[in-house]
């Protein structure tokens, strides 16, 4: 009996914008200068928003916060490629994407400060609340994709997760089902190299995460996640595929978490400064700034204008956060079911009585 190869696959990696700000012109996406400047502004805004949350946390005005520093290119690139009709299903390190989706900044702050009202998004914003359990949200990405497909909508579901979440069974079930049903879902892995203290090579023996797509019969691609043009291109390609009805895509965006896992973590316990510094040199924002400088699209004056603008906007978010009215004891009970059942009414009444006593 012969041995014949029955399946062979190649996984591609996409790099367009180099660390020195130069670009591969053959791969450069069709972006107008204004769009590129907008992406830059988005990333600067995201970083300031993130920095502020860390400061608030240290001052006791914020709960545990998972920083996004270093991962802004993925969030701006995918976020700007999405339309209002697309659904975003975040994990918990997608604040930048959620801002671009139209969620007011003070609401995301509110959630992490301990207020469920932060996840009551505006009616017209197609976004799931953050998913903390790790990996379970991948399945919702497939489900929402199936929903869009069955409804005949020309829209995509875009679901995010980290490298650690690819070890969860739900990741594999979700990709498998997405392949079977050929749903318009884009799966984006923010591979920031570390799942709290566990490095990628302890999550998988595979050379890439993108190659896992092959096992489920769907396209997969790896991109430099700190390269805004590579992220943008991969996102546009995947979203176009989804909207055309040609099915799901897995995007592995290779990046690095420059900060701690959350404000409750101390990354210096498990990783070297050298490694962090090496990635700092690959920062997505300074890289795009070099490109903009070279193209004559930016200068220090614009930078300081932007800084002032962003600073004011962030302050507004903090003010809005801190101006939120207090909760009532009823809030604990009234959103459990469409109607409050008798046993909950009773529990609610007893709490109110206790609080008012």
């Amino acid at each position: 009996m012969p041995r014949t190869p029955v399946y062979e696959a190649v996984t591609e990696r996409l790099d367009i914008l180099a660390v020195d700000g130069s670009v591969d012109q053959t791969l450069m996406p069709d972006l107008a200068d204004e769009q590129i400047v907008e992406l830059y502004r988005d990333m600067v805004k995201m970083r300031a928003y993130d920095d502020k949350a860390l400061k608030l946390q240290r001052q006791g005005r914020m709960g545990t916060w998972p920083p996004i520093k270093g991962q802004e290119a993925i969030q701006a690139g995918v976020g700007r490629a999405m339309t209002k009709e697309d659904w975003l299903i975040p994990a918990f390190r997608e604040h930048g994407l959620m801002l671009l989706k139209g969620i007011p900044g003070h609401m995301i702050y509110a959630y992490w400060a301990g207020d469920e009202r932060g996840s009551c998004f505006p009616e017209d914003v197609r976004c799931f609340p953050v998913a903390v359990p790790v990996g379970s949200q991948w399945q919702h990405g497939t489900g929402v994709g199936l929903s869009l497909k069955l409804s005949g909508e020309k829209a995509a579901a875009v679901v995010f997760g980290g490298d650690g979440s690819t070890s969860e069974g739900d990741f594999h079930e979700a990709l498998n089902c997405a392949g079977v049903y050929n749903v318009p879902t884009v799966f984006v892995i923010q591979n920031n190299q570390w799942a709290i203290s566990v490095p990628l090579h302890r999550q998988t023996a595979a050379a890439t995460l993108a190659q896992k797509a092959h096992a489920y019969g769907i396209p997969g691609v790896q991109v430099d996640g700190n390269d805004i043009f590579a992220v943008w291109s991969a996102a546009v390609e995947a979203l176009d595929r989804a909207r055309r009805g040609d099915g799901p895509t897995l995007i592995e965006a290779v990046t690095y978490r420059l900060g701690d896992h959350t404000t409750a973590d101390d990354a210096s316990r498990y990783r070297d400064d050298e490694e962090v510094e090496a990635w700092r040199a690959r920062d997505p924002i300074s890289r795009l700034r070099l490109y903009l400088d070279g193209a004559g699209l930016w200068n220090d004056e614009l930078e300081s204008q932007l800084a002032a603008e962003v600073h004011a906007w962030v302050d507004e978010q903090v003010q809005a956060l801190e101006a939120m009215p207090p909760h009532s004891p009823e809030d604990l009970f009234k959103y459990m079911y469409a109607e409050i059942p008798p046993h909950l009414s009773e529990q609610m009444a007893s709490l109110i009585e206790e609080v008012e006593r």
Partner: protein, 348 residues
């Protein structure tokens, strides 16, 4: 002991309930379940059915028989063999406008889906302050008595009853099966619908051909009595009715309360019965310790303290792994154990 009211023994209110002017068909529970899905799918094109073997095969218990022929593969969706995906996808579908009716083939296989049920389905409304919700039904055959392989006999309702956000419904007869499932599908929150597989096809009863609802959260007095209340749900209701019949021959008038919905619990009907009889026996297949019988007992103790003439008795499964076929009968609450417990309450 019994002093009066033997003469009041008789069928409970549910048996008298019917849809006026509707023709009826004699159906099994499995057929009634299928009809509820069929009628709701006709009525609302956002209702979908998904699960393992629910399509061409019509479900391993034939509870989805004929649906794929009628509604096609976009609405009757055979899934890969992945329970977490069935529920996880249903969360995505439900939160964006569909009403998925998901089937878990056996309750013993629900574990992989529990993260999706507990961490997402049960919480989405609350954690988004009502912005998103999950109108989803999860059907699953539960319980023992059919001599199956391992993991096919479990009753895990207690797991779900300590998880706020999920309604739990258990029909005991074809009429309720159709009416309760119809209500569950129309409900805007996740409903766990436990189907007593032991009696899926054990008997037929007249079921209205038209769609109708049996409201969630309302217990049924399946038999009226005066001396002792037998409280149960699902397949055990039949065993309680049998026990009540035998007790009746001995001059003991037993009332049978079929809870039908375990969350939210109809405390009023339960307490009304126990206040009247002064004695209660709770019967369930699940293990005894921390079984829902403990909660029912606590509710009775809190709500009918002064009327209780004996401690609430529990007739349950044992705190052991559900046995394989040989010892199934030893495990399951029997008519005789229920009769003994009722006598114990009366002799206290």
């Amino acid at each position: 002991m019994t002093t009066e009211a033997v003469g009041t023994d008789g069928p409970g209110e549910n048996r008298l309930r019917a849809v006026p002017d509707s023709t009826t068909e004699k159906l099994t529970i499995a057929q009634a379940v299928r009809d509820a899905m069929r009628d709701e799918m006709e009525r609302n094109d956002r209702v979908l059915v998904l699960g393992e073997d629910v399509g061409v095969d019509g479900g391993v218990f034939r509870a989805t028989d004929g649906l794929v022929e009628r509604f096609g593969h976009d609405r009757v969706i055979d899934t890969p063999l992945a329970e977490s995906a069935i529920i996880g996808m249903s969360v995505g579908l439900a939160a964006t406008g569909f009403r998925p009716v998901a089937e878990i083939q056996f309750m013993g296989f629900v574990y992989p889906a529990i993260n999706q049920l507990f961490a997402h389905a049960a919480r989405l409304r609350n954690r988004t302050r009502g912005r998103l919700h999950v109108p989803m039904v999860v059907r699953m055959p539960y319980g023992g008595g059919i001599h199956p392989p391992e993991h096919h006999s479990e009753s895990y309702e207690s797991l779900f009853l300590n998880t706020p956000g999920i309604k739990v419904v258990v029909p005991s007869n074809p009429y309720d099966a159709k009416g309760l499932l119809t209500s569950a599908i129309r409900d805007d929150d996740p409903v766990l619908f436990m189907e007593p597989k032991r009696i899926y096809r054990a008997f037929r009863e007249p079921v209205p051909s038209e769609a109708y609802t049996v409201p969630l959260g309302q217990a049924d007095v399946a038999r009226v009595g005066a001396d002792v209340t037998l409280v149960s749900w699902g397949a055990m209701v039949r065993v309680c009715l049998d026990a009540a019949e035998v007790l009746g021959h001995e001059g003991i008038s037993a009332e049978v309360v079929d809870l039908r919905t375990l969350n939210p619990l109809d405390r009023d009907t339960l307490l009304e019965s126990v206040v009247k009889t002064g004695r209660a026996v709770v019967v369930h297949e699940a293990p005894r310790t921390n079984g829902f019988g403990a909660e029912v007992s606590a509710q009775i103790t809190e709500g009918a303290t002064l009327q209780l003439m004996a401690p609430v008795q529990r007739v349950t499964g044992f705190d052991v792994i559900f046995p394989l076929a040989h010892n199934e009968k030893l495990y399951l609450p029997s008519r005789e154990r229920i009769i003994s417990a009722a006598r114990e309450a009366l002799d206290f």
